[in-house]
């Protein structure tokens, strides 16, 4: 695991293994999610992988009625909006993700601050397979 380069390719691979991984600077301890190859706090270059517990709170959200082609393909449209959000993790970093288990047609029922738990949505097969990071109310 330590041998994977600290980049988005590795980040995606970890997601496919149901792991939400960031990097930590071995010199100053700063945590980055998604992973950064260099520390932008102390400019140290010795990083290590750090697994997130996957628990956090909703910091911002939107219910999207007009999505990109890959979301339309999943069946989302004006009548079936999906929810995206910014999640503040217990570790103190934020991540953008899909928000499941809430009603995109009733945005007034979705509350900032809601406790959330990570899950991993695996789609497609072979080369087309990809994993989406999602959170749902815990």
């Amino acid at each position: 695991m330590g041998g994977r380069p600290y980049n988005d390719i590795s980040y995606e691979r970890f997601l496919s293994e149901d792991k939400l991984m960031g990097t930590r600077c071995q010199k100053c301890g700063s945590l980055f999610l998604p992973p950064r190859p260099i520390c932008t706090k102390c400019y140290g270059s010795e990083m290590e992988w750090a697994e997130m517990k996957g628990k956090g709170r909703l910091a911002a959200f939107t219910c999207i009625a007009i999505g990109p082609p890959f979301m339309i393909k999943e069946g989302y449209d004006r009548k079936h909006p999906y929810v995206c959000g910014v999640v503040e993790l217990e570790e103190g970093v934020r991540v953008v993700a899909r928000i499941e288990g809430v009603d995109g047609t009733k945005p007034e029922t979705i509350e900032i601050g809601t406790p959330l738990k990570a899950e991993f949505l695996h789609t497609g097969e072979g080369e087309a397979s990809t994993t989406f990071l999602a959170f749902r109310p815990s």
Partner: protein, 421 residues
């Protein structure tokens, strides 16, 4: 009293022009630039021989993708008869032509050139909405795109964070939309020269003439609150919170300050320029502001020695109505959390103490992305010279105006302050 930073020599705007913004099946990028260029020439009071232009900087974001041609600098140079003078394309997503302006200013300030043409162009409407959305998404953070965020989605999420923190709501976004349309009604170059009340009345009239039941909207807010008239795009962002897909071009002529009066007795001096870069949504320290805008503003205020209260009018990048509120706070016009109240109180109206987006803004004037930055300066040029016609702001001794341009989801932000002396 000026700030500590200084341009090598002063730079002035001596001409400004734009095409009409809109969706044109029969006008291409070259034609739109020609329209803007001809208007610019007509605004140079003492005339300009295009042979005296030393260089061209042209902002453009998506033509590689939409028109399958990326090398627009020389194409436009040739169109305008400027070859073999240097031509450079600048790319900063929706702030592309503000970067052209900045390069032009720095090139003159350095002493290298005396007269520079800067502008921008975008041709978007000939593509499907899906293609345009995909093209524009090239300017978003890859993490946001993967999570399913769209551009309105990013601004929608910022709006929910802003609402939760400061107690604002959707109605406050409507105030921005209604104001923008009221201003654009007076701007013949705008894509939507029509007020929300006019749109509402047209809909009621149309229903009546078809013998359908007449919608029972009593005012603009009831119209904007009706999901049939104003559907959700990315909650809380609705259709009338969004700028349209547009075609258009704009340009301004820059000259070294010492020769500005060869062109006009009424030049506008570039007293402040600033540019900042920003992070994706997940990495932003604060979800209710733009770090890049704050940095650009700091640079421009420092260079000019001016303060936010000295700015009499401003064009700000209202790609979505929430964005206008956030920018007016980031630029220091209002305290954080006070921007929405300022709109509600009418402070930013055409006849208010701090008119914002007198042109109608991106929302109504249109947003041909590469043309927007210098397009904003065309409005400031008109207002500061008292040439804005029906939408001329009634401020006495109007001397200082500013333009704020944003690229991507806040990745590039610029701020330019112009002064009439």
């Amino acid at each position: 009293m000026r700030g500590q930073k200084k341009l090598g020599r002063g730079v002035a705007v001596v001409g400004a022009g734009m095409s009409k913004f809109g969706m044109f099946a029969d006008k291409d990028s070259k034609y739109l630039v020609a329209e803007a260029f001809l208007e610019m020439l007509s605004t140079v009071d003492k005339g300009i021989d295009p042979n005296d232009i030393d260089a061209l900087y042209l902002g453009n974001f998506t033509n590689d993708f939409f028109v399958h041609q990326g090398h627009w600098g020389p194409i436009i140079s040739d169109l305008l008869g400027l070859t073999p003078k240097p031509a450079t394309r600048t790319e900063g997503a929706c702030a592309s032509s503000a970067l052209a302006l900045r390069e032009g200013v720095l090139a003159i300030a350095s002493g290298f050139y005396d007269v520079v043409l800067v502008g921008g162009v975008e041709e978007m409407s000939k593509r499907s909405t899906e293609e345009v959305t995909e093209g524009l998404a090239m300017a978003a953070s890859p993490y946001e795109v993967k999570a399913g965020f769209t551009f309105p989605g990013v601004f929608g999420a910022m709006a929910t964070a802003y609402f939760a923190r400061y107690g604002a709501n959707r109605e406050h976004l409507m105030n921005v939309t209604i104001k923008s349309h009221n201003n654009a009604r007076l701007n013949p170059k705008a894509q939507f020269s029509v007020s929300i009340r006019d749109i509402m009345n047209q809909r009621i009239e149309k229903a009546r003439s078809k013998g359908e039941p007449s919608p029972a909207w009593r005012d603009e807010k009831e119209f904007l609150g009706d999901l049939r008239a104003n559907p959700v795009v990315a909650w809380p962002v609705h259709l009338y919170d969004c700028c349209p897909i547009s075609d258009g071009a704009s340009c301004v002529l820059l000259a070294a300050e010492e020769m500005a009066r060869d062109f006009t007795d009424n030049p506008l001096h570039v007293v402040g320029i600033g540019q900042g870069s920003g992070k994706g949504l997940h990495a932003a320290e604060d979800l209710t502001c733009f770090e890049a805008t704050r940095y650009a503003a700091k640079e421009a205020y420092e260079l000019s020695g001016l303060k936010p209260e000295d700015i009499q009018i401003a064009e700000v990048h209202d790609c979505f109505s929430i964005a206008e509120i956030l920018h007016t706070e980031d630029l220091g016009f209002f305290k954080p959390g006070e921007g929405y109240k300022a709109v509600e109180e009418g402070l930013t109206r055409l006849d208010g103490p701090k008119p914002i987006n007198t042109s109608g803004g991106l929302k109504c004037k249109g947003h041909p992305v590469g043309a927007t930055g210098t397009g904003q300066l065309v409005e400031i040029w008109k207002q500061l010279r008292g040439e804005a016609g029906e939408r001329q702001v009634p401020i006495k001794d109007l001397r200082v105006g500013a333009a704020h341009n944003l690229g991507g989801t806040g990745g590039t932000c610029t701020y330019t302050i112009l002064e009439r002396r």
